[in-house]
């Protein structure tokens, strides 16, 4: 009787809730369409030459064949931990005096708060730090793999160029990331960066004011500038370029030495 046409209360509730959602957000036809498209057109993931022809001696390249994926996973972890860090970080590098008289700044104080007061804050920052290192290493090794296996050749030249762009973005991510804690590493790195920017001909100082907010690190404006580059401009651009990069890999298939 309980399992009759009327159904149980739970069943009824589930049907009501999901029915309400499904009426307003009909996901099923779309998922179904995608599944059908994949299953009838490709039936499986695109396969490489080596897979198709069961070639053997390239096994020693295999450990280098998931580096792009590893850097993407690291990027996702960076996004998650970065969002959490963003709740506590104060992008203000202006110098101020502590009660003891020594120099400090709000960005550094917020970093100290993350490290010592926020629950699990040091773990989140540590994850962000190490995921960044892993991502940069993976991107570099990925580039080496593509280079040595000649995977940038026709028809993949465009994807190589996009990849070079992504490599530069990744290094900029790392660089802007270690500018933010406003410690002495940040100070030294910012000085090198400002000097490099100012050395460019004709528009050096204007470029420095644009990128760094000032032509030296005294004002501390560079923290805010590079904070916004680090958390908005670069992620915005990089995510788009990454989608194109991976889309092209999907379309063209993985290149392997054969």
């Amino acid at each position: 009787m309980a399992s009759g046409a009327s159904g149980s209360l739970g069943e009824e509730g589930r049907r009501t809730v999901f029915g309400w959602i499904k009426t307003r957000f009909p996901s099923v036809p779309w998922a179904d369409l995608t599944r059908k498209a994949i299953e009838t057109d490709q039936r499986q993931m695109p396969r490489s030459h080596a897979e198709k022809y069961e070639l053997k001696t390239i096994w020693y390249w295999y450990p280098l064949y998931c580096l792009g994926g590893i850097s993407f996973v690291a990027f996702i972890i960076l996004t998650i931990t970065g969002i959490i860090l963003g709740f506590f970080y104060v992008p203000d590098g202006r110098l101020m005096r502590e009660t003891t008289g020594s120099l400090t700044n709000p960005a550094y104080l917020s970093m100290q708060r993350i490290m010592f007061e926020v629950p699990f804050g040091f773990i989140i920052r540590g994850l962000h730090h190490w995921a960044a290192h892993i991502m940069i290493a993976a991107v570099f090794l990925h580039m080496c793999r593509v280079y040595f296996t000649g995977a940038y050749k026709k028809p993949r030249e465009l994807n190589w160029l996009i990849g070079v762009l992504l490599l530069l973005m990744t290094i900029l991510f790392g660089y802007s990331g270690y500018l933010l804690p406003a410690n002495n590493l940040s100070e030294g790195a910012a000085n090198i960066g400002i000097n490099m920017t100012r050395a460019s001909p004709l528009i050096g100082d204007q470029l420095a004011r644009l990128l760094w907010g000032d032509i030296n690190t005294l004002s501390g404006y560079y923290i805010l500038r590079w904070y916004w580059i680090h958390v908005f401009i670069l992620p915005f651009l990089a995510t788009g370029v990454m989608i194109v990069h991976m889309g092209l890999v999907w379309i063209q298939g993985v290149a392997e030495p054969h």
């Binding site: 700044n105 550094y108 490290m115 994850l127 050749k153 100070e187 000085n191 090198i192 490099m196 054969h258």
Partner: protein
């Protein structure tokens, strides 16, 4: 009638045997399904990666350091991935500094930092141009020796550039007994250039050798040149006045022994390349390398344990000349070894290029008469996969018709002859009994 017979004999049902070759074949083995196999593997990799990050976080916590202040007291070292760029910035002081168009609106100062900017831009431009410069078809690293050698040289250059960026640390860390830096700036600048070049040359020779080329034309100038450079510099240091600092004069004998060993190693490699037949030269170079390395390490240990000051002064001559005295003998021996190597087991590597066009099967005279060979035989591909149950190996005439039509220039009969000699050698080693 005939086709029925062929169909009977065809090995279509068996793994690896097909009727069609090339892109039209329909019996591809399915890849790994995305779900659940592939997805499970990816999930495990992701969890493993995250676990590594947690591990690093727990045991290597990134510390904050002191807050920023305009007075920097210590040397700031950027993260490892920017060290190479910093090294390029520092090495840029070798360029002349001048100002173009002074007084005009287009005034451009070619300062050391601007030269550093230009130097940092070079690798980026090279990366952007790469696919348009290298337009060849070859994908395999071992079959594209120039590309692979340049790539290895570039990786070494990244390391040496990073090393140069911490020159101050090296100056403070290693000193001569009288307190001056052991390795001066000039030697470190050359160390930025020389190791990449040597690694590139060595890799080029080794990879060309992998393709069965005789590398004598490369080996003779490289090993002989190394020997002449090392021997010449050793003689100059030992006998020309002014080359040896007066503090090192008392340690002339141990220094001479070390220099003799180093130039001897390079000389032995050059001599072996010049006069010996290849197989004996290979053994000679092998022996030279091992003996020289052991003797060098033993000499350092012996001198260090008996007279540490003597060792310090000997090193004060050797280390600043790392680029010639220490690198070149090693380069000569290693390159000679690479260039004389017997590139064993590369037939499999070459055969693996086969993309099953089936042309070898079409022209092969054996397949026209041999019953077993009818139908499914694709000579190169099936031999490589060891699915030929011995037929092509022992019935092949070595007429080379297959190599003549092979679009990838696979030397099939060479492979067959090599395999036959291997089989004979094996049976001889087993006491002359076949199976």
């Amino acid at each position: 009638m005939e086709i029925e017979k062929v169909k009977e004999r065809i090995m279509e049902g068996r793994p690896g045997f097909t009727r069609q070759y090339g892109p039209a074949r329909t019996d591809h083995q399915p890849g790994i399904p995305l779900f659940p196999q592939e997805a499970t593997r990816d999930f495990v990799v992701v969890l493993f990666l995250t676990a590594i990050m947690f591990f690093l976080t727990a045991f290597v916590t990134p510390l904050l350091g002191p807050p920023r202040s305009p007075q920097l007291s210590e040397l700031i070292v950027p993260d490892w991935y920017l060290l190479f760029s910093w090294g390029l910035l520092k090495i840029a002081d070798i360029f002349p500094e001048f100002t173009l168009g002074a007084g005009t609106p287009l005034e451009t100062q070619f300062s050391a930092v601007f030269w550093g900017d230009i130097l940092s831009g070079i690798p980026i431009i090279a990366l952007l141009l790469l696919p348009f410069l290298d337009r060849g078809r070859e994908a395999r690293p071992a079959k594209a020796p120039i590309r692979s050698a340049v790539g290895l040289a570039a990786i070494v250059a990244i390391f040496t550039s990073s090393l140069y960026s911490i020159r101050e640390v090296i100056w403070q860390r290693w000193m001569t007994p009288n307190g001056s830096p052991l390795i001066d700036d000039t030697a470190m600048k050359w160390f930025f250039v020389i190791p990449p070049v040597l690694v590139g040359l060595s890799a080029y020779v080794g990879l060309r050798r992998l393709g069965f080329k005789s590398m004598r034309k490369w080996l003779v100038p490289l090993t002989l040149g190394s020997f002449l450079l090392v021997a010449g510099q050793s003689l100059a240091i030992l006998f020309l006045p002014g080359w040896l600092a007066p503090q090192v004069q008392p340690y002339w004998v141990p220094l001479a022994l070390f220099l003799l060993l180093l130039s001897g190693a390079a000389g032995a490699a050059a001599l072996a390349v010049l006069v010996l037949p290849e197989s004996r030269a290979r053994r000679a170079v092998h022996l030279t390398g091992i003996v020289a390395l052991l003797a060098f390490a033993g000499g350092l240990l012996y001198l260090g344990s008996t007279d540490a000051l003597a060792l310090d002064w000997v090193l004060s001559v050797l280390e600043p000349n790392t680029n010639t005295l220490l690198l070149l003998p090693g380069f000569a021996v290693v390159t000679a070894w690479f260039g004389l190597r017997r590139p064993y087991s590369t037939y499999e590597y070459l055969l693996n290029e086969c993309y099953q066009c089936g042309k070898c099967h079409t022209v092969c005279p054996v397949t026209k008469v041999e019953d077993d060979a009818l139908g499914g035989l694709n000579l190169v591909y099936n031999s490589f996969k060891k699915q030929h149950d011995g037929v092509p190996l022992w019935t092949c005439l070595a007429c080379d018709a297959c190599s003549a039509v092979c679009p990838l220039d696979i030397k099939y009969s060479d492979y067959i002859l090599e395999e036959r000699s291997k089989a004979h050698a094996r049976s001889a080693a087993d006491g002359g009994e076949v199976e």
